[in-house]
């Protein structure tokens, strides 16, 4: 049952082959027996889940079911869920029971999903390995001594380990695509503004974007359909028409122009990963696509630019965590300054502190122009690279990450090396473009992700391109051993 896709399970539910309650119990049992070793969930919510499953069963028998009704999923613990702890992977919010729902949560609930629990993540989404979580690292289900990637590491690992059918994730610099790649699942970061940020705890407001993490492009289309759309509560939400993301999944790729940025196939790329990506490119040629080399000349500046913009925004976004209205508050503060300093010093972990400090420095008097303003200018150049590329091609294709999953603890002490792991994913966030990671042939038993980047609001094209590959290959169907 747990190997079925959303479409298959939906058909089974509607045909009465099994109920949502049965399906939910099945997944809760799997979580019970398998999650201890993986640590994918921060909070499991059996009561909430079974209640939702019962309601879903009623909707199904009333003939009022949509494609997601009764489907068990996990919410990344960055999305506020009313009445349920929303920790964002931080000690700071260990006591935070959200008094409201995020728009994404509200929409998925309205579609009838069953939330099994809240997925582990890097603290405040700052990390590429899930090792910065206050709740401990998530282990990669393909090899438990390796990281699942991050920050949506819990979401990626639990989808790969079949501990839910799908999950939500968020992506600020690759936080959906990189863990999707390292765990062998399909992850989509939509165009900035496509999915509401309301209730999604902010890391870097001009980069953050929520999206689906699933086992196939087909499932991603169904999830995105429910998650996306204009939201008046988010000023940066785009008033773009919402297409039917499933409608064009099977469109022919004949004549599709795929661009391979030469900078994405540089010496930094692992040879095994390169070979897997090449194999996928070969499939696209067979499907009738035309593959051309392009250049994104400012690629090498994406990581440096990102590590100014993201920390600057985060340093300000995280100022609200002050121990006054909610969240962690230090014991016996001796004065106001002590309350702030110790609550924040004790409530935040190392990586979060590093980024708050970098951001604070970059915005401080005398440094603003050299760092923040400069980064915003280079952001423009990076964006222009893509603008030029999309005048020539329909999709940009490359690897999602330079290597397969690295070992737990391997990069934890070296922030800069860790940051460089996101070298291929960050540019799409800076430009605001949609990006997707799709599993291709594993290397030495470890998953590899192929990245597709599309033009603004062209998620349907990305899903179509990903789906066609998944029609002719089985890489996305591989499951880790014991799952």
């Amino acid at each position: 049952m747990h190997n079925k896709t959303i479409a298959e399970l939906g058909a089974g539910l509607r045909a009465g082959e099994f109920s949502s309650v049965e399906l939910t119990r099945h997944f809760l049992k799997r979580i019970d027996s398998l999650d201890e070793g993986l640590n994918c969930y921060i909070t499991v919510t059996p009561d909430v889940a079974l209640q939702a499953a019962e309601a879903a069963d009623q909707r199904i028998s009333a003939g009022d079911a949509g494609p997601l009704t009764g489907i068990p999923i996990a919410q990344k613990d960055i999305f506020c869920t009313q009445g349920v702890k929303t920790s964002c992977g931080s000690r700071m919010l260990d006591s935070f029971i959200s008094p409201y729902d995020a728009t994404v949560v509200e929409r998925l609930n309205a579609a009838g999903v069953v939330m099994l629990g809240k997925a582990n993540m890097d603290e405040f989404a700052m990390g590429s390995s899930n090792e910065t979580s206050f709740y401990g690292p998530v282990r990669n289900p393909w090899d438990r001594e390796r990281v699942p990637g991050g920050s949506s590491g819990g979401s990626a690992a639990l989808v790969a380990a079949r501990l839910a059918v799908a999950a939500t994730g968020t992506d600020t610099g690759g936080s959906i695509r990189q863990p999707a790649a390292l765990c062998g699942i399909t992850g989509l970061k939509p165009t900035y503004g496509r999915v509401s940020r309301y209730g999604m705890i902010a890391f870097a407001s001009s980069l953050d974007q929520g999206g689906p993490m699933t086992r196939s492009a087909e499932d991603a289309a169904l999830m995105l359909q429910a998650m996306a759309g204009f939201d008046p509560r988010d000023s940066t939400s785009a008033e773009e028409p919402l297409p039917d993301f499933s409608a064009g999944l099977n469109d022919s790729l004949q004549g599709l122009k795929i661009g391979l940025p030469k900078e994405y196939f540089d010496e930094g790329l692992d040879a095994g990963v390169a070979a897997s990506v090449e194999a996928a490119i070969e499939e696209y040629r067979k499907l009738g696509a035309e593959v051309v080399e392009i250049s994104l000349p400012n690629t090498h500046l994406a990581v440096p630019t990102y590590y100014v913009v993201a920390p600057a925004e985060c340093s300000s976004n995280l100022s609200r965590f002050d121990g006054v209205r909610y969240g962690y508050r230090c014991e016996d503060p001796k004065d106001l300054e002590d309350l702030y300093k110790r609550s924040r010093g004790e409530g935040f972990g190392e990586e979060v502190k590093r980024r708050i400090m970098i951001g604070t420095y970059a915005l401080s008097a005398g440094y603003y122009d050299a760092y923040y303003l400069k980064a915003q200018k280079i952001r423009h150049l990076i964006s222009d690279d893509f603008k030029a590329a999309f005048e020539q091609v329909d999709v940009v294709l490359g690897p999602s990450t330079p290597t397969t999953a690295f070992g737990l603890g391997e990069k934890a002490d070296d922030p800069v090396t860790m940051y460089l792991n996101d070298i291929y994913t960050i540019a799409a966030n800076l430009a605001g473009l949609p990006g997707m990671s799709v599993p291709v042939e594993p290397v030495e038993g470890m998953p590899v992700g192929l990245q597709l980047i599309g033009n603004y609001f062209d998620e349907a094209k990305l899903l179509n391109v990903a789906h066609k590959l998944q029609q002719v290959t089985d890489w996305h169907k591989l499951a880790p051993e014991g799952c």
Binding site: F79, C80, T86, C88, L93, F96, S98, P99, Y100, A102, R197, Y198, G199, M200, I201, A202, A204, S205, S206, P232, R233, D234, S235, T236, A312, E313, S315, S316, L318, S319, R320, F321, D322, V324, R325, Y326, L336, Y340, T360, L363, S364, A365, Y368, Y372
Partner: protein, 477 residues
């Protein structure tokens, strides 16, 4: 040495919107603590700001009224600092690109002259909550109802050269924002707050002296007193051989002094940057056109019109145009038939006095402009005398109906028929032979005695002019 005073003011006007600048919580004053602070105002994780259209319109009205350059594209920025009444750890304000740019305001001074004061800019921002300093076992309590209330910060050029000018400018801005309907102007409730920058320099010197900033002054009287104190303090410091330190000082109204809050050295590094949760505000020409079309008549124009149209003196016109409701009331009275001079007098003196005494204002005046007009019409057509009119006014105030109803019910119509008056006059002359003799002997001020007697006999209803005329005729006969 003779010192020249240089003053610039920053006014914070709370905008009269129903909801907050970035959330749908109410801005009503005086609610129970923290009942009007929603999740956005409280800065819960994940919440986002959405800009209130009315706040933008208010800023544009002000911009148009002071002839300012309007930012076609303005940007919200975050001002980062930690304070318990600031839930996000930053205030959403405007920094590089404010919505209202350079403008100016003409201020009429007591001397009768007027002076143009430059307005540097006006920008939108959110208000903070309040720290309550009652003692909670050594702790402070925070009420965040006010957090997120829209403010327009109006920054002047350092163009004022005396405390009188500064107060006149502050009053003029106050009058303007209330006229425009963008601020209720209630200073006691903190709807209109003033920060003042003051420095001194020797006359003739071009360079400005070091300034100090006086924060959060919430009455014009305090503004004057705070500036007076600070001016004297600065002169004392400089003449005593000291130097002025650039700092923020707080005016303590109880002690009538200013004291240092923090000096520039330890001032915050606010780390301004464009708020990524908000996009640039774009103002198109059609919106500006609409604002211009809907612009009410401004105080100065109204004053000129009152002088010309109603043939009023400058002082009367000034009093009547001091506020828009008063000016509107006056015009409604005139429309209802009140003669302008009499109307000016009755509206400012009689009605104003009565309202004041009863603790009411024009909006809840028991006497409508129509009733007032009806009353003044009866004075003009001599149906009643000015003295009887006060009696009628009181009856209208007490809800006994309009002027005509009251006059009829109480039989207050003036006696203008000399035929009816003659026997009364004759009787009084006959009953007071001694006084008649004295009058005829030259003690002419006794005329008042006779008039009084006639008025008494007619219960005030006799037309005083006619009584005079008739008495003189008979006494001198």
């Amino acid at each position: 040495m003779q010192w020249e005073t240089v003053i610039g003011l920053e006014v914070h006007a709370q905008l009269a919107t129903k909801s907050k600048i970035f959330s749908g919580a109410s801005t009503a004053y005086g609610a129970a603590p923290n009942t009007q602070a929603c999740n956005v105002d409280l800065a819960f994780p994940g919440v986002l700001p959405v800009l209130n259209r009315e706040a933008v319109n208010c800023a544009l009205k002000f911009g148009v009224a002071v002839g300012a350059e309007i930012g076609k594209r303005s940007v919200f920025a975050r001002k980062n600092y930690f304070y318990p009444d600031l839930p996000k750890g930053y205030q959403i304000s405007q920094f590089e690109l404010p919505i209202v740019g350079k403008g100016e305001l003409t201020v009429e001074l007591e001397s009768g002259e007027s002076k143009v004061i430059g307005i540097t800019r006006a920008h939108l921002e959110e208000d903070a909550g309040k720290s309550l300093h009652e003692d909670f076992h050594g702790l402070s309590g925070i009420d965040l109802n006010r957090a997120g209330t829209p403010l327009l910060e109006i920054v002047s050029e350092p163009d004022m050269r005396s405390i009188k000018e500064a107060v006149a400018y502050a009053r003029k801005i106050h009058q303007l924002v209330v006229y425009l309907g963008i601020c209720d102007g209630n200073m006691q409730e903190g709807s209109f707050r003033v920060d003042a920058n003051l420095s001194i320099r020797p006359y003739g010197q071009e360079a400005f002296g070091t300034r100090t900033e006086l924060k959060n002054i919430n009455s014009f009287r305090f503004l004057e007193r705070a500036l007076n104190y600070e001016l004297e303090r600065q002169i004392d410091v400089v003449e005593g051989g000291g130097r002025i330190v650039q700092e923020t000082r707080l005016y303590d109204a109880d002690k009538d002094e200013t004291r240092s809050m923090r000096s520039k050295e330890e001032a915050n590094d606010y780390r301004y940057f464009p708020d990524p949760d908000l996009l640039p505000v774009e103002i198109d020409e059609s919106l500006l056109e609409q604002i211009r079309d809907e612009m009410p008549e401004l105080p100065t124009a109204k004053l000129q019109r009152f002088i010309q149209t109603y043939a009023l003196g400058e002082k009367e016109a000034n009093a009547l145009t001091a506020s828009r409701p008063l000016a509107d009331y006056f015009e409604a009275v005139v429309n209802a038939g009140g003669e302008t001079k009499i109307a000016a007098n009755w509206v400012t003196m009689e009605l104003g006095g009565a309202l004041n005494k009863a603790g009411l204002n024009l909006a809840n005046s028991p006497v409508s402009p129509e009733q007032m007009g009806g009353l003044l019409k009866r004075i003009a057509d001599k149906t009643i005398s000015g003295k009887i009119a006060k009696q009628v006014f009181e009856a209208i105030w007490n809800g006994e109906g309009d002027a005509d109803t009251v006059i009829k019910a109480k039989g207050l119509k003036q006696i203008t028929d000399t035929g009816a008056m003659e026997p009364i006059v004759d009787e009084i002359i006959a009953n007071n032979p001694k006084q008649v003799e004295q009058f005829r002997a030259g003690k002419e001020k006794l005329l008042g005695f006779f008039v009084g007697q006639v008025m008494k006999a007619t219960r005030g209803k006799a037309n005083p002019e006619q009584v005079n005329e008739l008495l003189l005729k008979k006494l001198k006969a």
